[in-house]
Amino acid sequence: MIGIQSLAGIPFFADFSPDELAGISAMMVERVFRPGEIIFLEGAPSDGLFFVASGRVRVYKTSTTGKEQALCLMTPRTCFGGCPIFDGNISPVTAQAVDEVVAYLLPRDEAVERAKDNPTLSRVVLRILAGRLTHLTTVVDGLSFKCVTERIADKLLAYADEQGQATKRGVEIHLDLTQEKLASLVGCSREVVTRSLLRLERLGAIEAQGRRVVIIDREKLIQVT
């Protein structure tokens, strides 16, 4: 049983009264995933809406030749899996646990029935979908308008803001995703990632060593994007 306190901390439920929260938490199921475990696969039927309680989840699409395009990294108090439950029930993306993930699942049937009948819940779900659409427009922007080095600079800045650590030389990022994954995030090959990192290094914007990247000149990196 999921406590209503845990739900109240999730922004999507901010509008709900304690009674409504109790009703929703009674419908939810807690699920735990190991690091690397697939939560659902592209093309498979959807279980419902997942709310992340702890850990991170990669959401990505896979090409027929197995290349990955990451769409987003979900962090605690965000939601994923919202798309297929209202649209054909087939998941358009794959979700994979990065760390150990605890997630609350609002099963598909409950989510669909409730959203139709409950104006508050429907607003929440609509808001989730709206946020996802906004995010996707920026993904499309990056793919359509920016060259690979720009996109990588953009990703590094985002990582630095999310999880960078200040050191003497600059903000240090430990790339917990391999270069392969970074390549999939920006939609290019691993070789191109290596070349782009080298280019940024020559510009004096970063220092790259294995999975460790130090942003030594943030301004320069911003200029590249």
Binding site: K67, L71, F86, D87, P92, T134, D141, L143, F145
Partner: protein, 237 residues
């Protein structure tokens, strides 16, 4: 210009609304006609209500410097950009009529009240948003995985679905498709479109008759549209 309840009823979002409620929404609905360059909504603009295409076709796009990326082309009954209606923010895309289009506009306060009161409108909007999300995710994956020729092939097929007729030679698009529009749909630049068109012609999949594209081999073009390049899409110039 006002809109009759009957006309509003023919729009899927409002199809399940009846009687007095429909009359109430219709009283707050305007029919607006767009043609030429005037934008229906503009990126960065605050959302003032819901726009639905009543007639004609409307493109949703994003712009960066002199490049344009068409996100989707909408037809009759399609919702223009509901995301900011829901989250209260700005439009993230611009919308413009392709040719001439009639758009129904319902102000934001009326729409929010309607969403609260009508389960059928809630359901329709949920379905719409999920479908749009799928469209954008497909676009992102096409841009990431497919080479420019595949994306151009795919854009031609989509245009054929929007309006075409078949004769002895092949499938002819109903209207002239400019290189500029193809570039914006395929997420590339004009030079690359020219090269891709040439490649598709050499493969015997299409013919280019004074700027009008004719599909000679639809199955072949569909295969070309599925093709994946070995490298990333060409960067913006």
């Amino acid at each position: 210009m006002g809109v009759s309840p009957e006309s509003l009823h023919s729009i899927p979002v409002f199809a399940g609304v009846g009687g007095l409620q429909l009359d109430g929404i219709a009283a707050h609905t305007q029919a607006r006609i767009y043609s030429g360059r005037k934008l229906i909504v503009q990126e960065g603009q605050l959302c003032t209500g819901l726009h639905v295409v009543a007639d004609g076709r409307v493109k949703l796009f994003r712009r960066s410097d002199d490049r344009e990326q068409i996100m989707v082309v909408l037809g009759r009954g399609d919702v223009v950009d509901a995301a900011p209606l829901i989250d209260g923010g700005e439009h993230r895309v611009s919308a413009q009529a392709l040719g001439r289009a009639t758009v129904y506009f319902v102000d934001r306060a009326t729409m929010l009240a309607t969403i609260d009161q009508c389960p059928s409108v809630r359901e329709a909007l949920l379905n719409h948003m999920a479908e749009r999300l799928r469209t954008f995710a497909e676009l992102a994956s096409d841009l990431a995985f497919k080479d420019a020729t595949a994306r151009v092939a795919s854009a031609i097929l989509v245009c054929a679905e929007e309006g075409s007729h078949t004769d002895a030679t092949g499938t002819r698009l109903d209207r002239k498709l400019t290189r500029q529009e193809l570039a914006a749909r395929a997420g590339t630049v004009r030079e690359v479109v020219l090269r891709s068109l040439k490649r598709l012609q050499q493969q015997g999949l299409i013919a280019d008759e004074v700027g009008q594209v004719v599909i000679l081999d639809r199955a072949g073009l569909q295969r070309a549209a599925q093709g994946e390049g070995t490298h990333a899409p060409p960067p913006a110039a």
